[in-house]
Assembly symmetry: none
Homo-oligomer: 154 residues x 2
């Protein structure tokens, strides 16, 4: 008996395959109703199956006319970066390692100076100062991977 989450995952993936632009828009409650499950299970599927490690970006809005958009980022250009995403960054990354990677990206012409500055600021200890040291590197990894998907896109 395949697990429901797997079925929903497959269903969403098919929808994305069929879409022209690697993006779909769903309504959480509607989908939950189709699969006769709790709406929050849709969130579970999204966070476990459509996360940034797997190359997906999610955007959503609440309120009347709300929606959930799922983008699949095509990563073909450079598997070098794919490795970085999964191996060099992983669960956790220090500031200096992150900055090193960004320097490399800059030298390779993947990002310009201004982009480099923006990303460094976003990952800086100052920006993340409120987070306890133990958790900071994990958070930094999350933010970095999310940003990388933008750089990888196309």
């Amino acid at each position: 008996m395949a697990k429901l989450s797997d079925i929903i995952e497959g269903f969403i993936k098919e929808m994305i395959e069929d879409a022209e632009d690697n993006m779909i828009e769903i309504q959480r409650n509607l989908l939950a109703h189709q699969f006769d499950c709790a709406p929050s299970q849709i969130n579970y599927v999204l966070t476990t199956r459509f996360n940034n490690d797997r190359g997906y970006i999610i955007e959503s809005r609440r309120g009347g006319g709300g929606y959930v958009k799922i983008y699949k980022i095509p990563i073909s250009k450079n598997n070098h970066i794919e490795n970085i995403l999964n191996k060099s960054i992983g669960e956790s990354i220090t500031k200096s390692k992150a900055y090193d990677l960004l320097d490399t990206f800059y030298e390779n012409g993947m990002i310009n100076e201004r982009e480099q500055n923006i990303i460094k600021r976003a990952l800086s200890d100052r920006a993340l100062a409120k987070i306890y040291y133990d958790d900071r590197n994990k958070l930094r990894a999350d933010i970095f991977k999310e940003i990388l998907l933008v750089l990888l896109n196309e």
Copy 2:
């Protein structure tokens, strides 16, 4: 099903585009009647879509012969960012408010699309998912402010 408020927003923006002096004058009740909605919905659209942060100024008069004037004001980059830094962000900022500001930056040519996407990813709920909801907006404000400093110095 596009939301009515979005449709009204688009309609007003087109009117402003077509105007020579970046200013239009409307009548609230008339517009409400055109779109078959409550007059107060026009106010809702004005306050959510044509506010200061987005670079608009509203001026109106009640009573017979009343009117609503909407001005689009040209915003100078540094001034605008400083205002945002001082007034609109503060200790804490929601995702949707931050995204809204970024949309305005983009529309005014202060950032390009890729920069917009990078910053949106960095401030997304996904990137900050590990942080408990209550603290997330505070962290988002910290990161956003750091990033804005980069945009200021160029």
